[in-house]
């Protein structure tokens, strides 16, 4: 196969970055930031996911077709989340007779 062999050092650096980010997200969760806690936690999670996708899953340095494939897939996921949530958050809610 044509895949380029990445030095061990790079993988270890990504691993350390992921660990530091995990520590950061735990530390930030103890600080009261109101609605920003959610934003910070999710931003850190997205950065961690990107690190894994780019370096561990080798999407960085992959062929353009692979990148397009992966990008299109996550775009599709964004459609799912954004449209579902915009529907739920933009419509009035009838009081429920029973709990649901």
């Amino acid at each position: 196969m044509t895949t380029h062999v990445v030095p061990v050092r790079n993988y270890v650096m990504v691993f350390l970055a992921l660990m530091v980010l995990t520590g950061t997200t735990i530390a930030v969760s103890t600080i009261e930031l109101g609605p920003w806690n959610f934003v910070v936690a999710l931003t850190i999670a997205v950065i961690k996911a990107l690190l894994v996708i780019m370096f561990f899953m080798h999407v960085k340095g992959a062929k353009p077709l692979t990148k397009l494939f992966v990008g299109a897939g996550f775009f599709w996921m964004a459609i799912l989340i954004v449209f579902v949530l915009s529907d739920y958050f933009s419509r009035g809610w009838q009081p429920l007779v029973k709990w649901l």
């Binding site: 196969m1 061990v8 992921l18 969760s29 999670a45 996911a49 579902v84």
Partner: protein
Amino acid sequence: MKEADRLSESEAVLEHEHPKELKHHFDTVEQQAECSLLGMWAFLLTEVMFFAGMFGAYTVYRNLYPEAFASTSRFMSIALGGTNTAVLIFSSLTMALAVRSAQLGKKKSLILFLLFTLILGCVFLTIKYFEYHEKWVDHHIPGPSFHYDIPQYAHTVQILFFLYFAMTGMHALHMIVGAGLLITLMIMAARNKFSAAWYTPVEMIGLYWHFVDIVWIFLFPLLYLIGRR
């Protein structure tokens, strides 16, 4: 020599010119590898959609009942959840190094890194077992015996615990499947199935393992960290 005989002879020659791992319906090894890669990503993206549905449901209910959901944070152990996050990230590193060993055709280190990954996966599942056990003892498993200290939240909190078990349970199931795949890879590697020229299964299962890691990367902050104060 008859025409048919000559044809079959030339086919036999062609067969020998092929690398042994190249399937007949592909032109080159590169094309075959790229096909496997795209196929695996197509599968992983269906998995992304599958988990995204549950994440969407979680977000909707979280926003409907924020106080009830926040009140459960004291039952989520940051120590256990954080340890599991570290264990899973470490297992992703060993998996990446296993794929690297396969690329270099190093059989021994490939098997060793796969074994490390498997052990870390088992550590994760063991810790998860203790967390589930705690929920069982506390009557926090949705159903007839569900009990919650704050009565007005009992119904809505049950939804949170349902989502908690659905999401972490599906994640754990993926880990169990991954453990089986790792064992298969180790057996294949021991039988000299892989070489520096062909190690596609190692690479594909590596992608799967990293995907499972990513799901946890989102589960940890959403279930354990948000609403902690």
